[in-house]
């Protein structure tokens, strides 16, 4: 990617390049109720979604700044009945359009219209390889439907990209998951370990796998990869709780990623709304240009002026930007601290203790034992209960 000349503004934040990657969370409505969802647990408070014209304006303004990758997500983006005009306009503007979906609601009629509108790519999520676990983890009955949708995606000549979120309750099924993916004719499989934000954070103790589980899954995946070769490409990223250096989250907040939440709130990452003390702008009240280049909240975590030790004097700060601000906030209470995944962080023990707690006998059934806290599924009702 081209490097942009760094201009120093009145403040200390370096002027970034364009928001190359735009993620539209079109709605928080979703037919699934996944316990590992990263959406905010207070999503039921979100009321008025942007209307079609407002989304189209966001697309035009972001594209004019140089945005080129478009993710259409949610919630379930197919819950919006104007997904087709949104995709059509995005394609006309020159975005690479990627639909990130559970597949629920993807009828042949809609897929045909999306294809005609120029949809480039579809990423289909699966919760597990077995109907029982898939339906339990998403608290719904969708496995058969998803298998049909997978066939439809191939029929319309899209690469078949499966995304399976891994965690304690399904990570031991990696082999079955990959067999299923092969049977469905998947071209790419992303084994995405749960990241602990939103509902997943709320359910972290039930979802965090043990180190043993992670290593075993990695070995299984490696054997499978050797067996099938290039026919199906498998991505597996070790969950950051088991690493000693943090992920370069969002390539640094405010450097390339721009998320627009269903109500029009502009965020430098889809989880950033939780960060305290920052007033994120809304596209109803400001242009994308003003939001990206001029708003205080987008400038806040640019550069390294905000960093504390050990990050500030760390030679690795230009590589990982101190890790994830949301994870720092969730674990330590201060978003400017080093991501505790880093073993140089004075708070690293918070991560190793969570990992140590995960080293307990694995449940024989997906239903947690009576003494364990139950999983709280993502639903408007549970959201309203947590945030009355």
């Amino acid at each position: 990617m081209a490097e942009n000349p760094v201009n120093v503004q009145a403040g200390s934040a370096p002027r970034p390049g364009p928001p190359l990657w735009l993620l539209l969370e079109l709605t928080y409505r979703c037919p699934l109720h996944c316990a590992f969802c990263y959406n905010p647990t207070d999503f039921a408070r979100t009321t008025a979604e942007l209307d079609t014209d407002e989304w189209l304006r966001v697309l035009r303004e972001a594209r004019a700044l140089g945005a080129v990758q478009l993710g259409l997500s949610g919630g379930e983006p197919l819950a919006r009945d104007d997904l087709e005009p949104i995709v059509t306009e995005a394609h006309r503007l020159g975005f690479y359009t990627n639909l990130i979906t559970s597949g629920v609601g993807l009828t042949e009629a809609r897929l045909k219209a999306l294809k005609q509108g120029g949809l480039d790519h579809i990423q289909l999520s699966f919760q597990d390889s077995t109907q029982k676990m898939n339906d339990f983890l998403s608290s719904t009955r969708t496995f058969d439907l998803k298998s049909k949708v997978a066939a439809l995606i191939k029929q319309y000549d899209y690469p078949m990209v499966l995304n399976v979120v891994l965690h304690r309750l399904n990570i031991d099924h990696v082999e079955e998951i990959l067999e299923m993916a092969l049977k469905l004719g998947a071209d790419y499989v992303e084994l995405a370990n749960t990241q602990y934000y939103g509902w997943a954070w709320h359910n972290r103790e039930q979802l965090l796998p043990s180190l043993h589980q992670v290593r075993r899954a990695e070995q299984t995946m490696q054997r499978f990869r050797e067996r099938v070769g290039r026919q199906m490409q498998i991505y597996f990223v070790v969950p950051d709780y088991f690493e000693r250096r943090p992920k370069a989250c969002m390539n640094g907040l405010g450097s390339i990623f721009l998320t627009i939440a269903p109500d029009g709130t502009a965020l430098p990452c889809h989880a950033a709304r939780m960060l305290p003390g920052l007033q994120f702008p809304n596209v109803r009240g400001a242009s994308i240009r003003e939001i990206w280049y001029d708003s205080a909240s987008f400038n806040h975590f640019r550069g390294d002026e905000w960093m504390k030790e050990p990050c500030r004097s760390c030679p690795e700060k230009t590589r990982d930007f101190g890790g994830c601000r949301c994870q720092a906030y969730l674990l330590t209470g201060d978003a400017a601290n080093a991501d505790p995944v880093c073993d140089l962080s004075p708070h690293h023990h918070l991560v190793t203790e969570a990992v140590a707690r995960a080293d307990r006998p694995e449940p024989a059934s997906p239903r947690p034992a009576a003494e364990e806290k139950p999983l709280v599924f993502r639903s408007p009702r549970n959201s309203s209960t947590l945030f009355p």
Binding site: M1, A2, P18, L20, W21, L65, G66, V68, Q69, G71, G94, Y96, N98, D120, H121, Q123, D157, Y158, P159, V161, D187, G229, R230, Q231
Partner: protein
């Protein structure tokens, strides 16, 4: 699975899931794919934009030699197409 064997009569086209376009903000041809963008140098862009699934490698090469007043580009084009097939930027329909 190895990349398919190609010769001068093969008619490559941009791979499934990839999209090639001129990107003014980058002042370059780019190849877009899920969650990524490859900024192409001049010659890569010129080759790829001729890969329409109908034109043979021989014709692509001849066109490049004409437009850029060059000769003996066959090996360069073949090498690039082979690499691009390997990376799935291109496919043989």
């Amino acid at each position: 699975m190895n990349a398919p064997l190609i010769d001068a009569t093969s008619r490559p086209q941009v791979g499934r899931g990839f999209r090639l376009q001129w990107e003014a903000a980058q002042n370059a041809h780019v190849l877009l794919y899920p969650e990524g963008m490859i900024k192409l140098n001049g010659s890569a862009g010129e080759i790829l934009k001729r890969c329409d699934g109908a034109t043979t490698i021989a014709d692509i090469t001849a066109d490049l030699e004409r437009v850029f007043a060059a000769s003996n580009l066959t090996d360069d084009v073949m090498r690039f197409v082979t690499m691009a097939l390997e990376k799935k930027w291109l496919r043989i329909p």
